[in-house]
């Protein structure tokens, strides 16, 4: 079975190669081929999963070594895979949700003449993401990491004819570079510290390294995670990334790629466990981001951007949980998977709404859609209930566990983190209810589109509805399945698990969670359910206006990095012009001047040439004699 691991990656990779190189003759069949290969990968994953379940908890990890990639004396990098319980969870999520989104895209991208290319990129993404989670060393992981970055760039900018999409792709790419530098530095530090970058030896000997080094590695890994998972301070690209087609937003920018940062931190658990300072920073980043994303989500009128803020916020939960150590690793992954279901479902629902509304994204121009799109309404509604943590649905179990774990951190930190996660849960309930009410309830606020066509909302084709229904099933049942099937025991051999010492009882936390959820929903209902929603957004408070501008993230980046960078460049150019060029030109001018003067010695007269030779000979003789005398 171990040798099947490569097939997981090979199938979508083959699809990408065939679709991208195959040319127009595949235009009619390409999307079927892409979907089929994604499904092959999913089927392989299921087979491997079944095989893994049949083994004992401690020898479930599988390995496959393909070939030596960079064999250098003292520097060995292999193309080798490791499939353990953590990777398996991701593989099932990536191939499962990935296959559903391939199916959805068949309908969604039906009228796009570049559909074949779109499926090629999707397959490329799936292959790269699988490589990321299957690599058995950090260098190969880095390869996959860059691969998903490339696929993300290509897909955000898929509608490259729109300047906004091209700019958004570039922004995502640039911000991710900052994080990627963190990952490359972390790998270099690992190599100098441990002499290798394979997971096994690095993690096994992590305890032997000094805490300073581990903290440095941990912080660099966190920087990488911030870039890929859109955490503060590298969060600014995710909102703009919604310029990509909606299936991309669902797969890459909600369910899978953006959670790679969580994977990285959980995978490096042994390093973080031995570096408490780095862990503290991880929890702070998670806490700040979960509030940041939630506040932004409250103010956005663009349905996809509201969901993007929500994604950021939910990943903040996961990062926070991952920063808690063995208390939280399992719940970070659990929330990651349930979030993969319901957030993908929500995005597909949003895509379905846009599909029926002439690609309108402004929720102020929706309203009352529940009658026109009943299936979308129900699946979206189930996703909504899941994300706000309605008791019994998947988000309830996973988020509740994270809040409990935050309190269980202990001490003042535990109280602060617990309060933040509770506040986040209230805000989540508020903004998601707002989305729900503005889209599906209230009176119709439909506007004709730019070409003057009034919208005719209708239900989407079956190819789009089936994935939405399946994801809704996952959103409803996923949490309960994990809760009662022993997900903790499943992951424990890889991540470790610790109950911690909760200062308050689990029941109290659950009650508080449900209470704040109700408060959030109630507030939103008062504001958006009881009163009509204005088509033109009111001016709003200072906070609202700031939140609409993504809490001034771009203004800050512009002021600090763009303006600062421009000033730095200008001053460097000034120094270059005056000092460097001055020295260079001065030298050149003096050499040139010397040349002009020496040239005059060459006057064309044999007599002066002869004198020069005579003088030279005299000097030669004198120097020779002088050397002897000295």
């Amino acid at each position: 079975m171990d040798n099947l691991i490569a097939l997981l990656i090979a199938a979508p990779l083959l699809g990408a190669a065939v679709l991208l190189c195959g040319g127009r003759r595949l235009d009619k069949t390409g999307h079927w081929l892409g979907t089929l290969l994604a499904a092959v990968s999913f089927a392989t994953a299921v087979a491997l999963f079944a095989d893994m379940l049949g083994k004992g908890a401690d020898d479930r990890a599988m390995h496959q070594r393909l070939f030596s990639w960079i064999p250098v004396e003292g520097f060995q990098a292999d193309i080798a895979f490791q499939l353990d319980q953590l990777s398996m969870t991701f593989v099932l999520l990536i191939t499962g949700v990935g296959t559903l989104i391939h199916v959805y895209s068949i309908g969604y991208m039906e009228h796009d003449e570049r559909r074949r290319r779109f499926f090629g990129y999707l397959n490329l993404f799936v292959a790269a993401m699988l490589l990321l989670v299957l690599a058995d060393n950090y260098l190969l992981l880095y390869f996959g990491w860059e691969g998903v970055g490339l696929a993300s760039y290509l897909l955000i900018g898929f509608w490259q004819h729109k300047p906004s999409a091209a700019t958004a792709a570039k922004k995502a790419f640039l911000v991710n570079r900052v994080g990627d530098i963190g990952l490359s530095i972390a790998i270099m530090l690992m190599f100098t510290t441990f002499g290798t970058f394979a997971f096994g030896p690095v993690l096994a000997s992590a305890e032997n390294a000094t805490e300073g080094k581990l903290t440095a590695i941990g912080l660099m890994l966190l920087l990488a995670a911030c870039g890929k998972s859109a955490q503060v301070p590298l969060q600014s690209w995710l909102g703009d990334a919604m310029e990509g087609p909606t299936p991309v937003s669902a797969l890459i920018h909600a369910a899978t790629m953006v959670t790679a940062g969580v994977y990285l931190i959980v995978r490096s658990a042994d390093i973080f466990n031995a570096a408490p300072d780095a862990q503290l920073v991880v929890t702070i980043v998670g806490a700040v981001t979960l509030l940041f994303g939630a506040i932004v989500g409250c103010a956005k009128d663009d349905i996809k951007k509201a969901l993007a803020g929500s994604t950021m916020s939910q990943i903040g939960y996961m990062i926070l949980a991952a920063g808690l150590g063995p208390v939280g690793y399992v719940f970070a992954i659990m929330h990651l998977v349930t979030h993969g279901f319901f957030k993908a479902g929500l995005f597909l629902g949003a895509g379905s709404v846009m599909h029926g509304m002439n690609d309108e994204v402004d929720m102020r121009k929706y309203g009352g859609l529940r009658k026109y799109m009943p299936v979308t309404f129900i699946t979206f509604g189930l996703g909504y209930l899941a994300i706000i943590g309605f008791p019994g649905l998947s988000g309830f179990f996973s988020k509740d566990k994270i809040i409990e774990a935050a309190f269980a951190k202990g001490g003042t930190e535990g109280w602060i983190l617990g309060a933040v996660t509770l506040l986040g849960a209230a805000v989540t309930a508020y903004y998601m209810t707002r989305v729900m009410l503005m889209t599906f309830f209230g009176e119709k606020r439909w506007q004709p589109d730019a070409d003057g066509r009034p919208p005719h909302p209708h239900e989407s084709p079956k190819s789009m509805l089936v994935p939405m229904i399946l994801l809704a099933v996952g959103s409803v049942g996923g949490g309960a399945v994990f809760e009662f099937s022993g997900f903790t025991e499943w992951l424990e051999p890889v991540t470790g698990f610790d109950h911690g010492h909760a200062p308050i009882s689990a029941a109290a936390v659950t009650a508080a969670t449900v209470a704040v959820m109700v408060i959030g929903v109630g507030l939103a209902y008062l504001q958006y359910g009881r009163k009509p929603v204005p088509v033109v957004a009111p001016r709003g408070s200072l906070l609202t206006r700031a939140a609409r501008r993504d809490l001034l993230q771009d203004d800050l980046n512009h002021a600090v990095f763009v303006t600062g960078g421009t000033h730095l460049t200008r001053s460097l150019v000034y120094v270059d012009h005056t000092l460097v060029d001055g020295v260079v030109n001065g030298t050149a001018a003096s050499v040139g001047g010397l040349s002009g003067r020496l040239r005059k010695l060459q006057n064309g007269y044999v007599r002066s040439y002869a004198v020069s030779m005579l003088g030279g000979t005299a000097v030669l003789i004198a120097a020779t004699l002088l050397m002897r005398a000295v």
Partner: protein
């Protein structure tokens, strides 16, 4: 006086004569030189007896055949072990047959072959009165612009004497680095210099300039020969012999009194040092080292361009060979005397050549100054005073000679109504008009500048490495600075060719015959091969780096 008396006079006189030993000449080992000299003599006879129409073909064929045979002889000798294990001194101590000699002779012959191909080029200028013309005057003795010249042109005369003259020069050059006593050295010098003076004078275009160049070269060459000869005399006074081995023996004290008549001057260090400095000056004149370089730009510019290429390459190889043998075989005991002096010469040569080249506006003068700077780089390798110094200089000479001949061959192609368009302003935009020619020239310029992947880099790296290992690190620093300065004017020509607008009345690029094409191709191939895969040739030079004593 009766018959008996007469008989006894004959017989008694004959007694002591019998005691003079007949000189023993190893003809086979001298074959490379003898073949070339023999072919030159045949060439003179051909000038006398072959009808005018057939002379060109006869001479070209004879010259190339002789060079090929001579090269075969060199290869055979090297394969026979004369470069390594069987190296010895032939011809009664006059000529060394050893690794450096054979390597340099091979280099000189190969460089001469490609140079002779450019001598024979007759396609560049349009036919004159129905006769194909080459780079040489119709009749060199005719007054420029006179009626006699016009008649000669009309009659289709050509100076086919250039081929035997070149062969004589080559013969002298072959002996020069192998000469193992000072008299042979001097005679070889004159044998190759005199034909070169003549060759410089026979340009077809700009004849007055050509004749002026030849006269300057002759006057200054004679001047330097006088110094060299005086130096030889002083060294004879010091050692009582002109043989390299004996002089070296007297210097290190292993040879005592040689000639009672010289007892008073024997071992007088003043004679040694002054004589050494004068001989050194004679050789530095030939390699074009500052301050004995001033003939170079004028002569390079005035001489017919094929001759310039030949001179710049082959003369430099021969002269550096002789310099190496003098310093390593005759004066190893004087290393601490000659090294500081040579340091100074190398520094002023590198910097002087590079700096003055910056303000040159004529491509031939630019290449002349470039050759001066390269002489400086070569001197840095000579100064290393180690086996790797010898091998690096040998390699550099081989690499440099092909680049030089190739570059001058390209210069012959760029022409306007007045012949070759050598002013740099006319080369503006050449890359747009003739991308191939400009690209080839750019390769040569990059090799001159020592850019990696060209032979210039391999050579310069080998020389500087040897110099640094030989304790001349400061010299290497100066060399790198000079290289940086030199890179400026090489790159400037490339910029001029590729990034300037071509002028409306710019030159045309002549389409050469297969001869010049072969020369340029050989230049490019050698430049790239020695740049990309130099190891085999570095090893070859390394094997050939031991002088026989």
């Amino acid at each position: 006086m009766n018959a008996l008396t007469v008989h006894s006079m004959w017989t008694t006189a004959a007694e002591p004569l019998n005691k003079i030993p007949a000189p023993k000449i190893e003809y086979v080992q001298l074959a490379p030189v003898l073949i070339v000299v023999g072919a030159a003599v045949l060439g003179i006879l051909a000038e006398a007896f072959v009808p005018r129409r057939g002379r060109y073909v006869t001479q070209v064929f004879l010259t190339l055949l002789a060079l090929a045979a001579s090269f075969a002889a060199v290869v055979a000798l090297a394969a026979g072990g004369y470069g390594t294990t069987k190296a010895h001194i032939a011809a009664m101590g006059a000529i060394a047959v050893d690794g450096p000699a054979l390597f340099l002779q091979g280099t000189i012959i190969l460089a001469s072959v490609v140079a002779v191909l450019t001598f024979a080029e007759r396609r560049l200028d349009p036919a004159d009165h129905g006769h194909k013309v080459d780079s040489f005057a119709a009749e060199a003795a005719a007054v420029p612009g006179g009626d006699h010249e016009k008649a000669a042109v009309k009659a289709g005369f050509t100076t086919t004497e250039v081929f035997p003259l070149a062969l004589f020069a080559i013969a002298g050059m072959l002996v020069f680095p192998a000469a193992n006593d000072l008299l042979t050295l001097f005679i070889a010098l004159e044998v190759f210099s005199l034909p070169l003076y003549l060759l410089c004078a026979v340009a077809r275009r700009k004849r007055l300039m050509s004749q002026e160049a030849a006269l300057k070269y002759f006057l200054l060459g004679a001047f330097s020969s006088a110094f060299l000869l005086f130096g030889i005399a002083l060294l004879y006074g010091y050692a009582g012999s002109v043989s390299y081995a004996t002089i070296a023996g007297v210097v290190d004290g292993s040879v005592g009194s040689v000639d009672p008549a010289l007892a008073q001057t024997m071992g007088n260090d003043a004679l040694l040092l002054i004589g050494f400095a004068l001989v050194l000056m004679g050789l530095l004149f030939k390699v074009g080292a500052v301050p004995f370089h001033m003939w170079t730009p004028d002569v390079y510019q005035g001489a017919p361009t094929p001759v310039t290429g030949f001179m710049a390459a082959a003369t430099k190889v021969a002269a550096f060979g002789a310099l190496l043998r003098l310093l390593y075989v005759v004066l190893p005991g004087l290393t601490w005397d000659w090294r500081p002096v040579m340091w100074g010469v190398a520094i002023v040569t590198m910097l002087g050549g590079a700096i003055v080249a910056i303000t040159q506006t004529d491509i031939k003068r630019l290449l002349a100054y470039s050759s001066i700077a390269h002489a400086g780089f070569l001197l840095a390798g000579v100064i290393a005073a180690t086996p790797s110094g010898i091998s690096s200089v040998l390699f550099y000479l081989g690499a440099y000679s092909f680049v030089t001949i190739g570059a001058f061959a390209v210069v012959t192609l760029v022409r306007d109504a007045g012949g070759e368009a050598t002013h740099l302003s006319k080369w503006a935009g050449l890359g747009r008009r003739s991308p191939l020619v400009a690209a080839v020239f750019a390769v040569f310029l990059l090799a001159f500048a020592g850019i990696p992947l060209t032979s210039g880099f391999s050579g310069k790296f080998a020389v500087f490495k040897a110099a640094a290992e030989g304790g001349a690190g400061a010299l290497v620093v100066v060399g790198v600075i000079a290289s940086a300065i030199a890179a400026f004017f090489y790159i400037r020509v490339i910029v001029l060719m590729f990034f300037s607008e071509p002028k409306a009345d710019g030159p045309t690029v002549a389409v050469p015959s297969v001869l010049t094409t072969l020369t340029i191709t050989a230049g490019v191939v050698v430049t790239l091969v020695l740049g990309l895969a130099p190891q085999y040739f570095l090893d070859l030079a390394g094997q050939a780096s031991v002088f026989v004593r």
